[in-house]
Symmetry: C2
Subunit: 428 residues, 2 copies
């Protein structure tokens, strides 16, 4: 069912950590057409694609505040409470990421500082349809509002009645989203990039989606549109030793695999017994899952790896650079200190990945596909820019003038040197 690697050598790591590559070429052209159409025809194009792809005649592109309230009204109180607790924890964790303002005098009279300022307009794409990802709305809109973004807009696909899912409506109201549009797919992404009569142009686009959404983000990013992260299938690595609970590990593994047929798990352990026990548990637990068919497919992408030591396992995990990493080992904290590449890390037996997906407070928008080697997950920073400032006194400029002039002239930039010389000469 899963591929097994027994005590692989370092040379084999490259093979083990390889992901299936996703080929978007077949839809690139159609997505480029959608983008061009939305750019040229705005709302008219939005309506055309809603009919074509979502099979719905859109009356209202924007879902009014009143509609949001009406939709929310019917939502189960238990789910409302759950959403509220999640918002509280996500807010607590992200609010602590605010940076202190701190001027630095690099040389007497030369004072430099950074200000973190909100990106003014952000657009969040939230998948709807069969699985309405209201949790993703919480993960994106909560830090956006904390950052102080002026306009936080959401696009999410309409259902057959030109409505959106009640949980998305409730989440949007609770977090304080400014506008919600019932628009899905590549056309929604294009609308937020260029603006239409109804949907405002934003400065940065966030959120996951199907292949059309992904390709739209790739194409627009190449034109300079800011996006959150490059996309890829969700994935998890688990490092487990004999201190783990095999049933818990199996449950975590299955929770990852139910995302989609292209999801992937790596189970790394130093114990053959753990391996056997987890696989047994997988076979038992899989039977009860409504998404069993998906799991059976994604299991095929998944791998179990027996390693000599847990440290070796950490090396392999770092090479893989997983989106999620669970360390279900006795020495979890020591191993966590060895993490070099990962999106989000879960320590011990009571930190399942689904805690981070929903309610512990960390963000669930994370780098997949090995991107964790260079990219961070979404955080408060993702909704802010850091602008540098400097104020130099006459004396401060004197003390670095010669350095600037010398370097500018060596780079062949005389006018750069002149801007210093003319100031220094003034009172000499």
């Amino acid at each position: 069912m899963m591929q097994l690697y027994k005590y692989p050598s370092r040379v084999e790591y490259a093979e083990i950590v390889k992901r299936a590559s996703v080929d978007y070429t077949s839809i690139k052209e159609i997505v480029a057409e959608i983008i061009a159409d939305v750019k040229a025809n705005g709302d008219t194009a939005i309506r055309t694609y809603a009919e074509k792809f979502d099979k719905v005649v859109i009356t209202d592109i924007e879902i009014s505040r009143k509609q949001l309230i009406d939709l929310s009204a019917g939502l189960d109180i238990g789910l409302k409470n759950a959403i509220n607790q999640a918002i509280k924890n996500i807010s607590t964790f992200h609010a602590a990421q605010k940076e202190q303002f701190r001027p630095i005098e690099t040389t007497p009279g030369v004072t430099c500082w950074r200000n973190s300022l909100p990106i003014q307009k952000v657009g969040l794409y939230i998948p709807g349809g069969s699985a309405p990802l209201f949790s993703t709305l919480l993960m994106l809109a909560t830090p956006a509002k904390l950052a102080g973004c002026k306009d936080v807009i959401v696009c999410t696909p309409p259902n057959k009645d030109n409505k959106i899912h009640p949980a998305i409506a409730y989440a949007a109201l609770q977090v304080g989203v400014d506008k919600v549009f019932a628009v899905g797919g590549a056309q929604a992404v294009a609308a937020m990039a260029f603006g239409t009569n109804t949907i405002p142009k934003v400065d940065k686009i966030f959120g996951p989606g199907n292949n059309y959404v992904t390709v739209a983000k790739i194409l627009l990013a190449a034109e300079g549109v800011a996006i959150d992260l490059p996309a890829g299938p969700s994935e998890l690595a688990i490092i487990a030793d004999v201190s783990c609970n095999a049933a818990f590990v199996a449950a975590d593994l299955l929770s990852q695999l139910e995302h989609g047929p292209d999801s992937q798990v790596l189970l790394i352990t130093d114990s053959e017994q753990v391996l056997d026990d987890v696989l047994t548990q997988v076979c038992i637990q899989i039977e009860t899952l409504p998404r069993k068919d998906i799991v059976l497919q994604s299991l095929k992408n998944s791998k179990t790896i027996l390693v000599n030591t847990l440290e070796e396992g950490m090396e392999l995990a770092n090479e893989y650079a997983p989106e999620h990493l669970i360390i279900a080992c006795k020495k979890d904290e020591r191993l966590a200190s060895m993490v070099v590449n990962a999106g989000s890390v879960f320590l011990g037996n009571y930190s399942p990945e689904s805690a981070g997906d929903y309610a512990s407070g960390t963000n669930h928008t994370l780098p997949t596909n090995g991107y964790a080697k260079a990219f961070s997950g979404v955080s408060l920073d993702s909704f802010m820019k850091k602008i540098t400032f400097q104020k130099i006194t006459r004396e401060g400029l004197d003390s670095i003038a010669n350095t600037i002039e010398t370097m500018a002239i060596a780079e062949g930039l005389q006018a750069h040197a002149n801007a210093i010389t003319i100031r220094i000469k003034e009172t000499k």
Copy 2:
């Protein structure tokens, strides 16, 4: 010479802030070919393109430490001292950007934190040839080393003798770059993205370059390769009032315009007198410039704008989102507090842009082309990833269990809920 806008209405802002769009389509195909060739043929392709584009037969792709020392030996002592002072100030400013480790208990028993960890391998592209940008090497390699990146490599074009510029050699040694390669152009970028026998594959690519380099970075970024920033011509906005020194403002304006024929300046003022005085000074100072021809061209892209109030000027500047913003006004600090979109801001009469280009300590790799609305300049963060961690106790999990289960089930993800239920059931 420059276009003049007198008291434009808000509606005219869109026209004023418009940049000339750069069309790369003509070279996209050739760059894609270079990338594919380097990916397939590695060092052989590197040598081919060095002969073709740089007119040099490469003997050594890597410049050895001994060669770097030999090249540096001949460098003027004044320039060495200048480079050393610049490194000191850049280090001071960027070292202060290190984040404190701070665990957050979002709910009793639910502890989350972020660790900033260095990107392991970074590649810096440094333009050489006529203008060897050793200052850019300082701006990229200094924070890379401070961040703790394990491998910091540099690619810079070879000269006719298969050597590199002595100032680049000296800067590389002083900052502690790990390896230097005499390779330029799109082939250098491709080599760092995929690795060759000689040049290691890196996790993120930094640095400016000609159109080939820019297009290579765009094409590779679309494949998921991490890059620093989207590129565009350099630009400056100056807000000046009667308290400014017109000669200083003219010098700053010219320092920006000498970068290239596509550079751009916006001069915004509430005083017709300032406007006249600055333009007079431009006419005087331009005569002495070695790069006068370039300046005469870039002046044509530049604009002067008379505004009713300085606050209105700040609104226009925010709409423009300039790479560099000089505020040469009496109330510079009050206006600086109104900045919403900019790369780097310079306050008062003694903070010329060239200070930030070389030696005040701030970074000069900044967002151009309006990207400052969503992107930050290069900083210590650019060389790090922020990884979230969480450790939840059994009691902590109890207190968020219901929330996670409820949300997971509402999203149709039963296995996500199971990962919680199986743990909570354990001792109930």
